[in-house]
């Protein structure tokens, strides 16, 4: 089981309590699709992804980014059992969506970059450590049910 210090819990809760889900969700998913264009393979039905500008203006992508970010709420509410919390979502990504689990890491990295831009100097070393620890547990849980 993953151990969380009080400080880590406070940091993670702090980030989420100030989070603009629409803004950060949209920016993170757009950045992922632009920086790692092969991730676009999963978004065939999402309209125009022709270049960075169209991706950034795409409302379907924006909505989906928000949805993904809200998906992290589950981990936030169940920090002591993220593994089981995401068992069903993991199966969904494996069996229905057929997403290569490496993509979770790519999106997590983009989310980190976007949060860093938003928080600026408040994204301290300790904050980054806690945040990346949280995301790596989520990423691991999401990949766990692949078979």
């Amino acid at each position: 089981m993953v151990e969380w210090t009080d400080s880590e819990r406070a940091i993670i809760n702090g980030i989420f309590s100030n989070l603009d889900y629409e803004e950060i969700g949209r920016k993170s998913l757009c950045r992922c699709l632009i920086v790692y264009p092969w991730t676009q393979r999963y978004f065939g039905g999402f309209g125009n992804l022709y270049n960075a500008e169209t991706i950034l203006c795409n409302p379907l992508i924006a909505a989906h980014g928000t949805k993904i970010l809200h998906g992290l709420d589950r981990a936030l509410k169940n920090m002591d059992d993220i593994k089981n919390t995401y068992a069903e979502l993991s199966l969904l990504h494996s069996d229905k969506l057929h997403v290569d689990p490496d993509n979770f890491r790519l999106l997590a990295d983009c989310l980190t970059v976007v949060i860093a831009a938003k928080m600026g100097p408040a994204f301290t070393v300790d904050t980054q450590v806690a945040w990346q620890k949280f995301l790596s547990v989520v990423v691991s849980a999401l990949g766990r049910q692949y078979h």
């Binding site: 757009c30 950045r31 632009i34 920086v35 960075a52 950034l56 990295d109 980190t112 970059v113 976007v114 860093a116 831009a117 938003k118 928080m119 600026g120 100097p121 994204f123 070393v125 300790d126 980054q128 450590v129 990346q132």
Partner: protein, 143 residues
């Protein structure tokens, strides 16, 4: 995944904008590397203090960033330009190349923190590609 001429221009432009803060970014990036990925401290066992923010870590981060800036100037021939640095990393330092990716990520985070407006997705992809090419050039002599 080589850089287009537009992306090379983007990299040069962004690094030029960044130059007033390049020391900070280098120092911060290495501090974050050893904090977020503690296994990387294994390369610094010869320092009295390899903790994030320590003097040797900050100083070395600045040195590394200097190397990255030097590489920007050699962006048209990274393999040729970084030959001796590659030999250093291959035969003396023997840093596992997976760590280049980890440091690149920390550099990107610092760039994003300090230049949130300028570090657009388009700049991000160009710089990420450049750092990946740099890493490849550094690993050229490994085997």
């Amino acid at each position: 995944m080589s850089l287009s001429s537009k992306q090379k221009a983007t990299v040069k432009d962004f690094f030029s904008k960044m130059s007033t803060r390049s020391d900070d970014i280098g120092a911060e990036a290495l501090s974050r590397l050893v904090a977020v990925y503690p296994q990387t401290k294994s390369y610094f066992s010869h320092w009295k203090d390899a903790s994030p923010g320590s003097a040797p870590v900050r100083k070395h981060g600045i040195t590394i960033m200097g190397g990255v800036y030097d590489a920007v100037g050699k962006i048209d021939d990274l393999k040729g330009g970084l030959l001796s640095l590659s030999e250093l990393h291959a035969f003396m330092l023997r840093v596992d190349p997976v760590n280049f990716k980890l440091l690149a990520h920390c550099m990107l985070v610092c760039m994003s923190m300090i230049f949130p407006e300028e570090f657009t997705p388009q700049v991000h992809v160009a710089v990420d590609k450049f750092l990946a090419q740099l890493a490849l050039a550094l690993a050229e002599k490994y085997r």
